[in-house]
Subunit: 362 residues, 2 copies
Amino acid sequence: MSSVAHTLTVELGRRSYPILIGDGVLSDSALLARHVPARDVLIVSNTTVAPLYLDALERALSPRRTVATLLPDGESYKTLDTVARILDVLVANRFGRDCVVIALGGGVVGDMAGFAAAVYQRGVGFVQVPTTLLAQVDSAVGGKTGVNHPGGKNLIGAFHQPTAVLADTATLATLPPRELRAGLAEVIKYGLIRDAGFFAWLESQTDALLAADRDALAHVILRSCQIKAEIVGRDELEHGERALLNFGHTFGHAIEAASGYGHWLHGEAVAAGMVMAARMSCESGLIDGAALARISALIERMELPTRVEGVSAETMLQGMRMDKKVLEGQIRLVLLRAIGEAFVTAEYDPQRLARTLDAHLC
Amino acid sequence: MSSVAHTLTVELGRRSYPILIGDGVLSDSALLARHVPARDVLIVSNTTVAPLYLDALERALSPRRTVATLLPDGESYKTLDTVARILDVLVANRFGRDCVVIALGGGVVGDMAGFAAAVYQRGVGFVQVPTTLLAQVDSAVGGKTGVNHPGGKNLIGAFHQPTAVLADTATLATLPPRELRAGLAEVIKYGLIRDAGFFAWLESQTDALLAADRDALAHVILRSCQIKAEIVGRDELEHGERALLNFGHTFGHAIEAASGYGHWLHGEAVAAGMVMAARMSCESGLIDGAALARISALIERMELPTRVEGVSAETMLQGMRMDKKVLEGQIRLVLLRAIGEAFVTAEYDPQRLARTLDAHLC
């Protein structure tokens, strides 16, 4: 019996690929035979995830030649140096252009494994096996890969689409609660930018979600991937609409950079960043105080942060200027016109931005 | 008056771009205004080329904000570490995704500047200003960027097309004779793989070419770029035909890796590699001894090497196995059916390959 509960497709012409969601997909050897068309496979994972799932994945990939490389766990290791080490492993094993790199882990593992796959021999095959909620709903889908630079988050990278995403919902059972909540931040984002009904559903399901209820999480993954696949299919390289997926991220990346990578989980920084973006929308007269209160309340009920300690407004602005959406030196923000409707703008009052930051820094 | 003598286009749909060939194009401010659509420009050059042309280029780019970064000269510096330094400069100057990177120099500068442009903020604009014959006829066109790994040549990189190539023929007047000859190796390649008439013309023009005759070189650049643009336009990502441009390179890359990057110029290694590939074609009964003799004779008259000292056949084979054309562990070779007609094959007699290597190693 197939382990796949839901399948959807990211439509990108010749480079379209499936997202397969289900309990046990990472140990389903028939599925892997179909979606990993290679003789040589490098599995990139980390020291936390590998003890839990590496054996099962390697068994399911047999009789392919698999090599595993384990990275240290954490955003602070998401650097060009770590990617260089993955490349060393590929070269040392004489892997050819017909190999496949599999990312087994969360967003950090996926971003680095994907970047290594993008640049090894100018591009080899890549399969995502995300094991965190954040990776399953967001980072594993869409082809953004890369690493941080001390000067800014994800400043170095490539667009390199996977050939398949296998989201095994069973892995969420072992996910630490803090990581689960960080993933829920990105889930809330989809409601805010595109789907007011989904946002309301999330408001009604906080208890189930925080308890890692399997059915609630399966719905969350499916709906999040649908929204992301739809946007990425229309704007793969972020010339327009895709920037909406960055809601909360201009603030969030600046929080991460200012605090030193690894202190905040990415989803936590995005949570605080979304409240800031919502307040800026409210300060600008785009949404009313009631909407802002609903957004803050949901994020707080998910036990996610809404305030940042020990970072000055100036440091925040400096970090925001390194955002990839900056054009001609001007910071662009993703703001809300309503819950469920986001847009990108460079037209805003800097004093309102200063007031917004003030309200969330302490 | 325009400095442009010849214009041709690499046809890649939305990403098509012009190659502009002429005396003085790099100091033509009207031309640069048209082809460098950015406020912020990073010029990547090296310590040999910059003293000759950097001032003129910066003047022509005024009033844009230009920053220059100079790399040490030579293939031995074509590493991921050097690219990391270029990225540091981009971040330190807070360049946004709307900046342009210009490569001013030979193939090594172009490969690294292009790779930095490919991965900075997941891709920024890129303009090639090649100042060596090799770069003007080959490496600046086609979008291959990257760096070497101790385990193999160009193993790390990306396809990232420039938005324009400005080939200033005036720069060839200052080119050291050894570099001129290295460039002629790639020129001979185009005749061998695609155009017997051009090959015969080269045989008749050796004196003029070695004397850096301006008209002869202008013809050589135009014809080489025409052939390359045609092939790249049909097979940008090297799924097929583009591999023909690698004629001589499987052997050549192995020579470079075995000798330590920087001992051989790339064009010199390709010259010896082309004679090996021609001999292998002859050993395999594809071309006759007379054709092989013509090929060897032209390469010798261009004062290019045909033999390799101090490298064993085993080391050569090991290097060849790291070639990007390897599939399922099998080395694939570009061989000749005739002068002017090349093809890719994995079907050859290993003993003939051993005899071929023996004949050129000492």
